[in-house]
């Protein structure tokens, strides 16, 4: 087959670029520890969330020293907790969000960060984030979920450890 020299050079550089991209993603996963949302969260019956040990009372649960689990239900058009009362977590901690949906497909995005996942009925998405200094973040649904989609928002508050009282925000 007749391939021009410049074409061969271009082909080589293109392959190098592609392998380089794959290498950076692989490094991100293994070296930098960027974990993907995957099937680790397991499944749940979206019609029986009230019988689930945690989703029946969604909110913040302490799971270890400086480690917290946050259970969030997305439904048309609110986050529970998040919308009617903010999700509150202490500063300088490791927080794992467990997000599911009670009705249609939603998104769960902490604005201005890469904490971002889909909420699909029957599936539980888990994302773990390192929370540093106190502050207030917006939460929004970024997947179209019906005519009131644009009103679906919430708040995540990172509070100083001394002000944090886990039991208050649960539920």
């Amino acid at each position: 087959m007749e391939i021009h020299d410049y074409e061969k050079l271009w082909l080589g550089l293109a392959l190098l670029l592609i392998v380089g991209f794959i290498a950076t993603v692989a490094y991100g996963a293994v070296g930098a520890g960027v974990a993907m949302v995957d099937d680790e969260g397991g499944t749940v019956d979206p019609n029986a969330l009230d019988q689930h040990p945690k989703f029946s009372d969604p909110g913040v649960y302490e799971s270890g020293d400086g480690e917290y689990d946050v259970y969030v239900i997305a439904r048309q058009y609110m986050f529970q907790p998040g919308t009617q009362e903010p999700i509150e977590v202490p500063a300088n901690s490791t927080v794992t969000f467990h997000v599911t949906s009670a009705d249609v497909i939603h998104g769960f995005e902490v604005v201005g960060t890469n904490a971002n996942t889909m909420a699909i009925p029957g599936e539980v998405a888990t994302i773990t984030v390192e929370v540093s200094s106190p502050g207030k973040y917006g939460l929004l649904c970024n997947e179209y979920c019906g005519g009131g989609h644009h009103g679906m928002e919430g708040t995540l508050r990172v509070v100083p450890r001394t002000e944090f009282n886990g039991t208050e925000v649960s539920g």
């Binding site: 087959m1 021009h4 271009w10 392959l15 670029l17 249609v104 995005e109 917006g138 997947e143 005519g147």
Partner: protein, 570 residues
Amino acid sequence: MSTFVDRYPDEARVVRATLVVSFAALGIGAFFGLIQALHRTGYLRIIDSTDYYTVLTGHGVLLALVFTIFFLLGLFTWAVTRSLERPMPNIRLTWAWFGLSTTGAVFAAVAIVAGLFPSLDMSADVLYTFYAPLQAHPLFYIGLAMFIVGTWIAGADWFLAYRSWRSDNPDERIPLQTFMVLTTMLMWYLSTIGVAVSVVVFLIPWSFGLIETVNPLLTRTLFWYFGHPVVYFWLMPAYLMWYTILPKLAGGRLFSDPLARVVFVLFLLLSTPVGIHHQYLDPGIAEGFKFIAMTNTMFLLLPSLLTAFTVVASMEHGARQRGGEGYLSWLGSLPWRDPAFTGMALAGLMFAAGGFSGMINAGMNINYLVHNTLWVPGHFHLTVGTAVALTMMAGSYWLVPQLTGRRLYSRPIALFQVVLWFIGMVFMSNGMHRAGLLGIPRRTAEPQYQSFDFSATIGSVTELRIQMAIGGTLLFVSVVLFLFNVLLSAIEDPIEMPVDDSLPAPLSGADGSPVVLDNLRLWTAIAIVLVILAYSLPLASIVSDGGLFGESGTFPVFIEAVYWIVGVVV
């Protein structure tokens, strides 16, 4: 000398009919786009925000499916006829697929637009991605199914034409344009299986109430099984024009026929086993499957990078034939006054930019920053919205005269139109990409929220909104100019040779390439194996976790929910 319409009058009639449907969809879809651009930036609000999603569905379906695919149906019919140098084997079959797909498209469009009229009790505001458990009227799903079956029959029509050519020419290489059509259609057959299963097995029975629930992750995965290859289905007609028409317009000829074949074979092999890259953020799919999709996606850059080389090299060759010299000053020798050339060249330039933002999307960890933000529509307005749409409009300035036997009404207006599209898209896609980096979501009527603001580090959110509104308006004006120009061209007086419709032979011809490239059975078999490798395990896992029909709640629940949100806001 005679032009296409004189040699193949029956085929020219079908192609013109497909272009009429295509351009009608373009006009309506672009108008919906204008309404959206002004609504979500807040400059002009003539619809309710809940209707925004109906308009958005119309914009997506009419432009991304109807405009692009009907143009493809016409272009491919033209390409097969002219490159095999024989009429279609059975023109009734050709009209049959045209009728079926047009009826289907009209059904889907009616179901969508009816959503704007509450008294009709019909809606389909499920967006272009139409996945459950949001539910549309059955007419929407039935229309889409008819439309897809119409494209299948069109593919069969082209394969029959090829078969009859092959029996007369047993030892010749497949003509390049026909080769491109056939490989694209094989990719399409393979990838539409997913959406066909989703619509026929699950969504249609569900929308009629025959089954109560669907598995949202399963129907979503089946949609994306088709949802990325469809991107290449839009792109391949643009590639066909870049490879076979653009070099001639530039004043030269295609650089390499063999490499063009390699590129199309790579698209056949790699287009389908990548759809899971739209689901990087979906729970219920293991990281390993996402990694496989990511690797395939990255390798899918290869045919596009090879195309970038060939297109630029062919343009340079053309410029040098026209007397161009120097490292870069040959660019000045290109026929920039020819709207067909300039439109395609600008489309190619935009595609490079869109390719780079696509590389970001494909990187599965960086994707977290931009997933479901305005960055994504910013990206695909460069790829589908410019590389494909602008190439189709520019190509029409060269194609329509040979299909009608009449000259183009105005070349200056045409030139202005393609440049205006380019400028409009620079504004709009720049605004969208940057807004996405701030976390502003896509698919929303009201990007402002009650309890927080988005903050820009460079410029301001207001400036981005102005850019999007200006860009969207310029794009709409550009479409109006295009439609106006093509319409007036149809009432010009017929002339014998309205455009030079000959295509020169490539510099490196098909004879220089291995015969195995034309072995379509082999490539199809490999493509099927790759699809099975990428999809069998994830699909099995989704079904075993969530069941074939899922167990999600009662739908649709829009009405109550809308009242609920109104109650909260008021």
